[in-house]
């Protein structure tokens, strides 16, 4: 009310702001102090990293968030002058940020390594490394309906029950989505039940399945025409968005990568290797199912393998190489093992010639 009151208010607010910033400032200072000490101790071994402050940008699949966060921490300890900035999104969205929005990233990691050759080559890169594997499971919690009886023999029967709700991500946007469709189609032959796909997906969405010359092709309508039966199922653009839906009991089950289920502490039904896209031994079987996404591209069923590359327009390709070195090291491999994404050792490449020289020795 009076001028004095205003002055007191302003002073209080300023003090509060100073307090907030000094706290965050302290944290910052501490880390740089630690970093400096660390830096001095290890300068002899750090030959490639410069002492200048640098930013390492990583676009990666949502399902790599947890291991990438752990690697970020390790990398920043090794390179205290580097700030790792990660942008998780659907794998396609990650690549499109580079190819459509011309955003620069030093590393791109996709949940489907085949997206790198189909969407990025040759304009944005000409090599990739296949470095880790995964598999599709059906995740649930203790609160899910019929959670006490679900197993790898009856999961599809339970998803069929009218009072059960389930989810999968949009096959147009997300590899986990089209893989969910593939797993469902593969299960028909495995369980000798020809109506699994129709009961779970065909009747609840506008996705249609065609069969020709021994190959099943699911045809995706444009996303706005998928028309999911929202009483029975839930669809989202990215698979990790469905995790929260399971946590709050909005759905009872959902198709997800084993790694995400492990990281979230969900219970899950492990599916037989014939259908869960985990094993190179069944690559021929996986090959019989395809999904034609709304943009007309056809994705063929393949074992789930993560791919990584350094785009040609990277700002800090040297740091990208350092990061991939860490990812391929024994330390990095452990991160992936602990998060339910078994590493491929040694990593496999499409074209050794084009892989940066520093990485070739590790393959």
């Amino acid at each position: 009310m009076t001028i004095n009151d205003h002055i007191i208010t302003i002073l209080t607010i300023s003090l509060l702001l100073v307090a907030i910033f000094s706290v965050t400032g302290c944290v910052d200072n501490e880390t740089t102090k630690d970093g400096e000490a660390d830096n001095q101790g290890t300068t002899a071994t750090q030959t490639t990293a410069s002492d200048e402050e640098a930013i390492l940008k990583i676009f990666h699949a949502g399902s790599l968030s947890v291991p990438m966060a752990e690697l970020e921490e390790k990398f920043e300890t090794l390179h205290p002058n580097v700030d790792v900035q990660r942008e998780p999104a659907g794998s396609r969205a990650c690549i499109q940020k580079i190819t459509e929005l011309e955003k620069q990233s030093d590393i791109l990691a996709s949940a489907d390594y085949t997206l790198i050759p189909t969407m990025m080559m040759p304009e944005y890169t000409n090599w990739y490394l296949a470095f880790a594997k995964n598999q599709i499971v059906i995740a649930y919690t203790d609160d899910s309906k019929y959670s006490s009886e679900v197993n790898s023999d009856n999961w599809y029967e339970i998803l069929r029950r009218p009072d059960v709700t389930f989810g999968f991500s949009n096959p147009n946007d997300d590899p986990c989505g089209y893989r969910s469709v593939m797993v469902t189609q593969l299960s028909e032959a495995h369980y000798a039940d020809e109506s699994i796909f129709d009961d779970l997906m065909g009747d609840n969405t506008a996705i249609t399945m065609t069969f020709e010359n021994g190959t099943y092709t699911a045809v995706m309508p444009a996303s706005e025409y998928i028309e999911p039966n929202t009483k029975k199922m839930m669809m989202r653009s990215m698979e990790v968005e469905l995790s929260s839906a399971l946590e709050i009991g909005e759905i009872d089950y959902f198709y997800i990568y084993r790694s995400v289920a492990v990281q979230h502490g969900f219970k899950f039904v492990e599916l037989p290797p014939q259908i869960d896209l985990s094993s190179v031994d069944y690559a021929d079987e996986y090959n019989t199912v395809r999904v034609r996404t709304a943009d007309g591209k056809i994705v063929v069923g393949t074992p789930i393998v993560y791919g990584i590359t350094i785009p040609d327009n990277a700002m800090q390709p040297e740091l990208g190489i350092e990061f991939i070195k860490l990812l391929l090291s024994a330390d990095g491999q452990n991160v992936f093992i602990n998060n339910g994404q078994p590493p491929i050792v040694p990593a496999v490449t499409n074209d050794l010639e084009n892989v940066p020289a520093e990485l070739r020795a590790l393959l």
């Binding site: 659907g90 396609r92 969205a93 499109q96 190819t99 459509e100 929005l101 609160d143 709700t165 949009n170 147009n172 946007d173 444009a222 996303s223 706005e224 025409y225 998928i226 028309e227 999911p228 929202t230 009483k231 839930m234 669809m235 989202r236 653009s237 968005e241 929260s244 839906a245 709050i248 009991g249 909005e250 996404t293 709304a294 943009d295």
Partner: protein, 278 residues
């Protein structure tokens, strides 16, 4: 009137303009260009380089459907905001009470909360097992349904209306209401025929802001309702599935539609100034 005189004076006086005013003018110009150039660039580029794509987007059924859904759901959210917001605004403008500042802050929180956070909070409450969603489960579904879209829009845009209307009520001299009361009007009559008309322009401005905010909302809506697809969700999905060039015509269309409404409503309400106190 006073304000207009003053500005005229500034521009027509023979004296050199105040240096501070020049600085202000320059900074205002920077802000104006920042907004105008960004949006104009997108619209003009689309119109110049690929007009057919814009026209075919405007004729596409799913585009029309999703943009109309945005507008319709936004309108419903605005109407609910009016019903809930006007009484709240009146109380806040006229009464002093314990913890009033706290109440005002709570009503304003949606403005500062990240919209994805708002979406998560709403899905938790209105989901099938949520505090509000569970008891209503057999009557109404919020997740992936029209009701969910409205709820998300309401949450993020209601504060704009409440704040604007409260400002309007604050500008009205309570003595006008008291005069009406002393002449025998019951409180509801005084409110309906004195207070509300005097605040009409603020109510209108607040409603436009609220509606526009609702139409453009994406972050909160997409978490509670990916389907049915509203305009911004469709833009995002086209971008994911087909890339930038496929999503831009719809984005431009969305800008043009909202801009048209904005200007139209402003023009209509311009005449309402006569009710203002100044």
């Amino acid at each position: 009137m006073f304000k207009i005189k003053q500005t005229r004076h500034m521009f027509t006086s023979r004296k050199a303009p105040e240096p501070l005013m020049l600085v202000f003018l320059f900074l205002a110009l920077v802000l104006l260009l920042f907004v105008a150039v960004t949006l104009a660039n997108m619209v003009i580029e689309q119109v110049v380089t690929d007009l057919p794509a814009l026209i075919s987007a405007a004729c596409e059924k799913s585009v029309i459907k999703s943009i109309s859904l945005s507008m319709y759901a936004g309108l419903v959210a605005t109407l609910i905001s009016l019903v809930l917001g006007i009484p709240a605004a009146y109380i806040l403008a006229r009464k002093d009470f314990f913890a009033k500042g706290f109440v005002e802050s709570v009503l304003d929180i949606p403005v500062v909360v990240p919209h994805t956070v708002a979406g998560i909070a709403l899905l938790t409450i209105f989901g099938a097992n949520g505090l509000i969603g569970a008891p209503l489960e057999s009557y109404i579904q919020f997740r992936d349904a029209f009701a969910g879209i409205v709820i998300a829009m309401l949450f993020v845009s209601a504060p704009f209306l409440t704040n604007s209307v409260r400002e309007g009520f604050q500008n009205i001299d309570p003595r006008l209401e008291n005069t009406a009361r002393s002449l025998g009007a019951p409180m509801w009559k005084a409110f309906l025929f004195v207070t509300l008309p005097l605040a009409a322009r603020h109510i209108m401005a607040g409603s436009i802001m609220c509606w526009a905010r609702a139409i453009s909302e994406f972050g909160a809506v997409v978490i509670i309702a990916y389907y049915p697809m509203i305009g911004p969700t469709l833009v995002y999905d086209r971008y994911l599935s087909y890339g930038l060039s496929a999503s831009r015509p719809i984005a431009v269309l969305l800008i043009l539609v909202t801009l048209t409404i904005f200007i139209a409503v402003r023009l209509i309400s311009a005449g309402w100034r006569i009710y203002d106190k100044d």
